[in-house]
């Protein structure tokens, strides 16, 4: 019975987290999140300076404006501000970046014949499950770690005013948005949950690349095709299906992993359905192509 400490999993995890593709992708995503901190901190400093210059009462004391909570950490970190380029860029490329670290690995080993060796030594179940687990974790890491880094760095510069319900207009959240209640009671937990959600969805998406390895001939196809498929689904859903089906829920992961509501609300069932569908596809592919075919 394979366990987390099996040599195969350890080997795959080592490969996943120590290859050049992982390191470059992680560096790029972290760079994006650090740039976002710089941009948000510099623009906030300018606006606060303007506010200090012009917003005084009769006694010369700066006025406290209603939008102060909206300039807090929870609205200004990468996931909290949907008006910045960095946010759009990060969440758009997240589903591409997640596949870069390790989704190509199975195809590479299939080409070299290494997979046959590994299957003979540790068994199909252990080998394939380790491969999927490593792809999941590395994919999740390149999305979740930069988000976490951004949140921590932004917290170093911007005060974390507790979100106030009276200023909900600025937060871009409706009452139906997932974990909305937490945002006002435990905002840090809300942020952490959305970082986790982004990581889990990205990790799950990265495993689709591993499944594609059974059908593709080029490693880059295993990275880019799932991404373009997601973009295609995003177009279909947001341009036609949600109107045609009159569905108020956002089904596209590109939008529903963002902690701010963009076009429509998200729903926990949608997330579970996506994860179940991805797991089902992976299981079917491994069963048909990995289990029943001769590795040699």
């Amino acid at each position: 019975m394979p366990t987390l400490s099996t040599p195969s999993l350890r080997t795959q995890l080592y490969q996943a987290f120590h290859n050049k593709m992982f390191l470059i992708t992680m560096a790029l995503m972290c760079l994006l999140s650090i740039c976002a901190v710089y941009l948000i901190v510099s623009s906030r400093a300018e606006s606060l300076q303007l506010q200090n210059e012009f917003y005084f009462d009769e006694q010369g004391i700066p006025r406290v404006t209603l939008d102060i909570p909206a300039t807090s950490l929870y609205c200004k970190w990468l996931g909290g501000d949907a008006t910045t380029f960095a946010t759009a860029a990060f969440y758009l490329v997240a589903f591409l970046a997640c596949s870069i670290p390790f989704s190509w690995s199975l195809l590479s080993e299939r080409k070299s014949g290494y997979d046959g060796q590994m299957v003979l030594r540790c068994g199909r179940l252990r080998y394939y499950s380790a491969k999927y687990a490593a792809a999941f974790l590395s994919g999740a890491a390149v999305v979740a770690v930069p988000l976490l880094l951004n949140f921590v760095l932004t917290a170093c510069f911007i005060p974390a005013f507790t979100p106030e319900p009276y200023a909900e207009l600025y937060y871009g959240l409706t009452t139906t948005y997932l974990w909305n209640g937490l945002f006002f009671q435990h905002p840090v937990l809300y942020v952490l949950l959305y970082i986790l959600l982004a990581g889990v969805m990205a990790g799950a998406w990265a495993t689709l690349g591993v499944s594609l390895s059974f059908f593709c001939r080029n490693q880059f196809q295993t990275i880019i095709l799932p991404y373009l498929s997601l973009l295609f689904f995003h177009v279909l859903w947001n341009s036609m299906l949600n109107n045609a089906l009159r569905c108020p829920v956002q089904l596209s992961p590109i939008y529903f992993i963002i902690p701010r509501e963009l076009t429509s609300s998200n729903h926990p069932l949608v997330i579970v359905a996506w994860l179940a569908a991805i797991a089902l596809v992976n299981l079917l592919v491994v069963w048909r192509k990995g289990w029943r075919t001769d590795v040699l």
Binding site: L28, T84, A89, G172, I224, H234, V235, T263
Partner: protein, 281 residues
Amino acid sequence: MYCKFLWFDVRQGLLRCWKKLLAACAVMLCLLLLHCLLIYTHNTTLPPSEAALSFTTGDLLASVLCGIPPYDPVAQQPFLFPAIWLLFFLLLLYQVLLYPMENLNGIGQTMLMLSKSRRVWWLSKCSWCALYVLVYFALFYALAALLTLAAGGEVTLALSSYYPSLWEVRNELQPPPWDTLPFFLLAPCIACALALAQATATLWMRPIFAFFASCLYWLASSYFLSPLLLGNYAMMQRIQTMVSDGLPCLSGLVSAALLCVCCLALGCWRSARMDILTFDY
């Protein structure tokens, strides 16, 4: 020599890849059908007294290539990226991404050594890339024309007078009729220039990171209104022939031409210095 190289590239990278183009056609058809469905649903909900809307080929093409109006972050509205427009161009960039490097990693290496000219190899790859973009756009335009015919619309590049009302145009629209031909000629030129830029980038970095950079560049084009971000010229809603403060088509054409020349020169310089024997993309 150049012609032999180019013919080889056309056979290997275009004629043999008909399945890729077929898949692209399927995606394009879906994108075009979205507009047909929009008009169809509008017509089904019309009261009997009102005339049903029809559409032209220009409307169909514009539904994919219109993009979004310039984004204003001060308005505090969330930025929604132009997904249809982005998908159309990213699909093209993906399709032209791999062939040059696959070629250099395979038979192209032998051909390159036998020909003794790296410059010819690179020029042939650039020509192939430009040709692929033209074929991609030709298919797109042809599909739109066929779909218009099938739906009983008018095959013309002119836009219907109602069409821009579907856009969220914030700037002032030029008075109709709009001259759309320059835009429909400019869009493939911009795509060609940026595909060449991506191909040139693959001489320095792995193709996947060149594609990654392309994604960010095209997204930046939709977020920032700047003549330096050439993607702006590939959005109908940002062109001077459509909106009063739009970008002039001529400057887009000049920028695209300049970028193509730079890519050719940089590619020649880089390919002459690359170690092709140990090259692994």
